[in-house]
């Protein structure tokens, strides 16, 4: 398996870990009765600041992962893998791992800078797949 695909699998596992890290406090705070219900009333505002940050960090990774998956797909299928695209993939993963504690601890401006590193690495992969 190529480096890019390995990193994509690891990024998928990161998403799973973020899911668990968000769902455990969310269930403790909102109660299983609410989380098992169809959630017709929005109670996300009742989350503690930390759980809410983990929730937003998960949503953010969802968006980043969509773009990264696209980049890995075109690099892989287009046979454009190179040391540069592999390095970009690792930068993406490192940034997304660091993003979670940066968000949880409210580290400004580090969270935004870390986000930018992951975003730029993904865009670089897309451009490398095209040229």
């Amino acid at each position: 398996m190529s480096t890019e695909l390995t990193v994509l699998a690891l990024a998928g596992l990161l998403q799973v870990a973020q899911y668990v890290a968000m769902a455990v406090p969310a269930n403790l705070e909102l109660g299983a009765r609410y989380t098992l219900s169809p959630r017709d009333t929005d109670r996300m505002t009742d989350l503690s600041p930390l759980a809410a940050r983990l929730y937003r960090a998960l949503g953010n990774h969802f968006e980043a992962l969509i773009l990264f998956t696209l980049a890995v797909t075109v690099v892989t299928l287009g046979d454009r893998g190179s040391p540069a695209t592999a390095a970009c993939a690792w930068i993406y993963l490192a940034a997304r791992v660091l993003y979670v504690p940066a968000y949880a601890l409210g580290l400004a401006p580090w969270r935004s800078l870390i986000w930018s590193a992951g975003f730029l690495a993904t865009v670089a992969m897309l451009i490398l797949a095209l040229i």
């Binding site: 696209l70 299928l77 287009g78």
Partner: protein
């Protein structure tokens, strides 16, 4: 670059990245850099063009979720053809038109662009079958 389906998919990824930057720029104008870099514990809703770009981004992601698997399928089956190329080109063109149509609130054009992009994606699935 515009003559193979995988490159069109990569270009759509770049279009998504640009949409995200436009949305972030809109949010920057409305909320300021301080809020954007903070942990955003207090929720603020975007309004006007910034909110339109948020919705346009969400819609572009939904469109991608339908478009990308079609390209994967066609690639896996070795089923790329002049027809699939044209459908993919139409998809990308429609999704490019969609963004300013949404940002500037051009009623009719946005929905038309959405519909053209949607049917171009469906056509790719039909061609894959």
């Amino acid at each position: 670059m515009l003559t193979d389906e995988l490159s069109l998919l990569a270009l759509y990824g770049i279009l998504l990245a640009l949409t995200l930057l436009a949305q972030a720029t809109g949010a920057l104008g409305q909320f300021g850099l301080g809020y954007l870099m903070s942990s955003r514990d207090e929720h603020r809703s975007a309004a006007g063009v910034a909110a339109r770009l948020e919705r346009a981004l969400a819609n572009s992601i939904t469109a991608m979720v339908l478009f990308a698997p079609a390209i994967l399928l066609l690639h896996a089956r070795g089923a790329f053809s002049p027809d699939t190329l044209i459908a993919a080109q139409i998809f990308l063109a429609a999704r490019i038109v969609y963004l300013p149509a949404y940002a500037f609130g051009i009623v009719g054009l946005r929905s038309l662009a959405w519909t053209v992009g949607f049917f171009a994606s469906i056509t790719l699935y039909v061609l894959a079958l």
